[in-house]
């Protein structure tokens, strides 16, 4: 889907937005995730259906940081922001952002942990907590009940019986 192959450098350029290739066949920059891989990941990890992102284009800016944009423009786009950062793919285990989980996480069907109000308070304050969880280890969607319905709150890392809050410092609150 890269419309100007001649314009595309073979390596990722960190300061601009490059649209993700649709599939591996169209990949020019080595190691860049494809749109298909991103959709598969949300589906496999959380059961978020690919249609959830049907209206969004995906872009890389910064090493492995993936953004979702509700429109489309020519790639590359040398600007300061394009939609919302939704995913970090640089490490072995991909990690969704808090903002993506709050926005799209209500479509998640697995690897979702529901916290009590008290536990949610610790989570938002950035504190780790012990938790009985017999599901997968790794990144989980954290939700709690608000105004009568479960509502996604953020991302936690579950390892060794511990739920580790991944709420970024700037988003933490003492409630």
């Amino acid at each position: 889907m890269s419309d100007e192959p001649g314009d595309q450098s073979p390596e990722n350029v960190g300061a601009r937005f490059d649209r993700l290739p649709a599939t591996a066949d169209e990949r020019v920059v080595e190691g860049r995730p494809t749109r298909a891989e991103v959709l598969d990941w949300w589906d496999e990890r959380f059961g978020v259906a690919p249609e959830t992102f049907a209206a969004h284009t995906f872009w890389e800016r910064g090493s492995g940081k993936i953004w979702a944009f509700a429109d489309d423009v020519a790639s590359p786009a040398d600007i300061e922001g394009l939609g919302m950062a939704v995913l970090r793919t640089r490490r072995e285990h991909w990690k969704p952002t808090l903002e993506a989980v709050q926005r799209f996480g209500d479509a998640a069907e697995r690897n979702v942990v529901t916290l009590s109000r008290e536990e949610a308070r610790d989570f938002v304050a950035g504190e780790d907590q012990e938790l009985d969880w017999d599901g997968d280890w790794g990144y989980l969607v954290v939700e709690h009940e608000l105004a009568g319905e479960p509502e996604p709150l953020g991302v936690a890392l579950y390892v060794h019986g511990e739920l580790r809050s991944q709420v970024p410092k700037g988003r933490r609150r003492d409630l």
Binding site: D7, V73, A74, I79, E80, A85, T97, L146, E151
Partner: protein
């Protein structure tokens, strides 16, 4: 209050105006309909034991007397954004539709940007420009917290805004993107109207600053008219009472660009724009603009005009 005395010739009930300028404003939040509904946000606030006072003129605008708008559950979920009540007006006047192309020319820190995104149902394209990287960082943080995905952020002087980053896929590199359907020109100003929130704002007031910033305002409004398609809408707004920054800027744009002022209704009390100020006279159509004084609706002060692009 010496600065405000210069407006006595413009304001009918000047004592009520001065008294209102002296009163502090309550914290007000706007419900972010990208992530929730007004009903659920209200239920969540009540569940959190906060007193909620709806502002009747704008659905989803709540005063929180005594509450800190940034430390409660609905805020953490990005359901709320703290915003001065009257500043919710210009996005409503611009009234963008889902799927449109919209430019927010002086966007940071993003209160109006995120409101525009919500009015667009987070679809189409909302280009948000600012010339200050620190403020852009705040804009991006607010947009992400509120779940906005239709915003594209540019760092540039709005007077020289380029459409080139927004050319369509498969078009020639260097060509320009399509013009906007609507543009919001909520310019930096002397901020006299925010005196109820920032009482120090008048201490820094100088006529030099007013005249200097008026030049910037004219440049941004011109660029917005140029970048908007024929038949498209541009809204110009400030939070100042100074005619140099309001009617004079409109008068200039009417002379220099193909546009005209259009009449519009708002659900707040206001008075028309002024056609005479000191030794200046302005085009009669600037009366279609609205001046909102603090004593009208017990809000901050505001100025808002709606223009149609005619060429």
């Amino acid at each position: 209050m010496d600065v405000l005395e210069r407006y006595e010739p413009l304001i009918e009930d000047f004592d009520a105006f001065l008294a209102a300028c002296d009163r502090p404003l309550p914290s007000v939040v706007r419900v972010n309909t990208i992530k929730t509904t007004v009903e659920r946000a209200r239920a969540a606030l009540v569940e959190t034991d906060l007193t909620v006072e709806p502002r009747e003129w704008h659905d989803g605008l709540f005063a929180l007397p005594g509450g800190n708008p940034g430390t409660n559950w609905p805020y953490v979920h990005g359901w709320l954004h703290g915003q001065e009540e009257v500043s919710a007006l210009p996005a409503r006047v611009l009234d963008p539709d889902p799927g449109e192309r919209v430019w927010d020319a002086c966007a940071a820190p993003g209160s109006k940007t995120t409101q525009l995104a919500a009015l667009m149902d987070d679809t189409g394209r909302l280009v948000a420009t600012d010339n200050n990287l620190g403020r852009i960082s705040a804009l991006r943080s607010n947009a992400e917290r509120l779940g906005v995905t239709n915003v594209a952020v540019t760092h540039e002087d709005a007077r020289n805004h380029s459409l080139k980053p927004f050319r369509a896929p498969e078009t020639e590199p260097g060509s320009a993107g399509a013009p906007y359907d609507r543009a919001l020109v909520d310019v930096p100003c002397s901020c006299e109207g925010t005196v109820r929130k920032n009482p120090d704002t008048l201490d820094e007031w100088t006529l030099d600053h007013v005249e200097g910033i008026s030049g910037v305002q004219k440049g941004v409004l011109r660029r917005a008219v140029q970048a908007t398609r024929e038949g498209g809408t541009v809204v110009y707004s400030t939070c100042t009472f100074a005619p140099e920054e309001n009617e004079a800027v409109l008068d200039y744009a009417l002379d220099e660009e193909q546009c005209e002022l259009v009449a519009f209704d708002i659900p707040l009390d206001s008075v028309p724009g002024v056609t005479e100020w000191q030794d200046e006279t302005y085009d009669d159509s600037v009366r279609k603009a609205k001046r909102i004084y603090p004593h009208h609706n017990d809000t901050g002060g505001f100025f808002c005009a709606k223009l149609e692009v005619t060429g």
